[in-house]
């Protein structure tokens, strides 16, 4: 009986927080404005004509660490930005939650990790996270040059924090970008994003 009182509360809270227009593969990706760790503002619309990758990130999550400690995420960032892709790391952890970083902390982390995103967007209010309905870190979105969302999901097909799983994994981001750039249709457009929950404010 108590639980259904809770259900009503959840329904009200959900109605207030669920985005009116969430990102859906095959549709125009929602435009956004966000500030990076150097105080520079970015809009999705300014990147029209380019592929954009959004990488949801939490430096304490074992699934994110799997990608960074192995150097795999950095390798992807370098490889794809060199090919003209705009790679935006997004941190939607609320203050006090795991993964929350100040601009200085994020810049120190990027340097320490030799990470190479185009920019790291700081989203402590969770506005960008909720706009895309990002559930986990990592979670990856790819937007094509015409502004259409072509991939939403996991980084690869190995839903485990085990570092040994990186080698030999099918990387869905590389696969989708390779296919799209060759003019082919994306074979895996969505996959269940695996990882730690994005640490939105309670």
């Amino acid at each position: 009986m108590k639980r259904f009182g809770l259900w009503i509360a959840i329904a009200v809270a959900a109605a207030l927080t669920l985005p009116a227009w969430a990102a859906r593969v095959g549709e125009k990706a929602p435009d956004f404005t966000a500030t990076d760790s150097n105080g520079v503002s970015h809009n999705l619309s300014q990147y029209a004509g380019k592929y954009v990758v959004l990488e949801w990130h939490n430096n304490g999550c074992p699934y994110v660490r799997k990608q960074y400690n192995s150097g795999n995420m950095q390798k992807l960032q370098k490889e794809w930005t060199a090919r003209g892709v705009v790679w935006l790391t997004v941190i939607s952890s609320a203050p006090g939650m795991q993964g929350y970083v100040t601009a200085e902390q994020e810049n120190a982390y990027l340097k320490q990790m030799s990470a190479a995103p185009t920019a790291a967007l700081l989203d402590p209010t969770g506005k960008l996270g909720h706009l895309y309905d990002a559930k986990t870190s990592p979670q990856m979105f790819i937007i094509d040059p015409s502004g259409v969302l072509i991939y939403d999901g996991a980084i690869d097909n190995q839903p485990t924090p085990d570092p040994a799983s990186v080698a030999g994994a099918t990387n869905y981001v590389s696969q989708a970008l390779t296919e799209a750039m060759a003019g082919k249709s994306v074979s895996v457009e969505t996959s269940r994003p695996y990882g730690c929950s994005v640490k939105y404010a309670n």
Binding site: A13, Q98, K135, T136, D152, P161, R192, N202
Partner: protein
Amino acid sequence: MALRWKIPCAVLLLATGFGSSRSAETEHLKVQLVSDTNSVEPGRPLWVGLYFEMEKQWHIYWRNPGDSGEPPRVRWNLPVGFQAGGIEWPGPARLGSGSVIDYGYEEPVLLPVEIQTPRSLAAGSSVMVAAQVSWLVCRDICVPGKRDLTLSLPVQATPGSLSASHALFQAAKLRAPKPLPSTWNVDVISKKDRFVLTIHGDGVTKASFFPLEADQIDNAAPQVMALLPGGLELTLKKSDQLLKTPGTLEGVLEVAPSRVYGISALVRLPH
């Protein structure tokens, strides 16, 4: 001074790091490999289980963990002729709040597994069941864990006596999803952005649906319920990741605590 402390630490490492054990006390949870009976009867099923007890507010996940997380996994190392079935998952609880909703267990839970045994076992011998268990346990943060557990049981030609863990197996049986009563009916219609689940059954005045497959329903969206004569209707918002309507909707229907049913309903399109 420094050396005196180093030696006891080294001993502690050796004691916990090497060898297998029946139970493992790790960060935020305790996991044990238990059996329903105290011995194995040749040719008869042996029920074993992984009993997880989490620290307060920590949880592990169901076979479909929901928006985030990962279910526990087990790899068995069994004697020749033994065959382990899959985990018989008890009905989960809905975990989390806001826009990320998961399915799993916060309360202690036994994950039972049925093992087929060969008739050729010699009475008086003993067998060892080994399990390599890995899991993700979370609260506000997540900690992956892994442990090797073993269980040694004597072989007896007669049915084994019930073990001290038998009550855990009985409780797990109560929590296991049952087939729908024959007099009940579940119907699923796929609409543009939602599934409408209609349930007709005796005494059904509330229901909660836990999907077996990921990316079919929006786990965070409230399941809006409307009472009907003889049953109710549950509206399940579709997942944004659902690109193609599935042929069936499978999952667990909870109509009351410990009244949990496994359903597999064909998805109809509206006329």
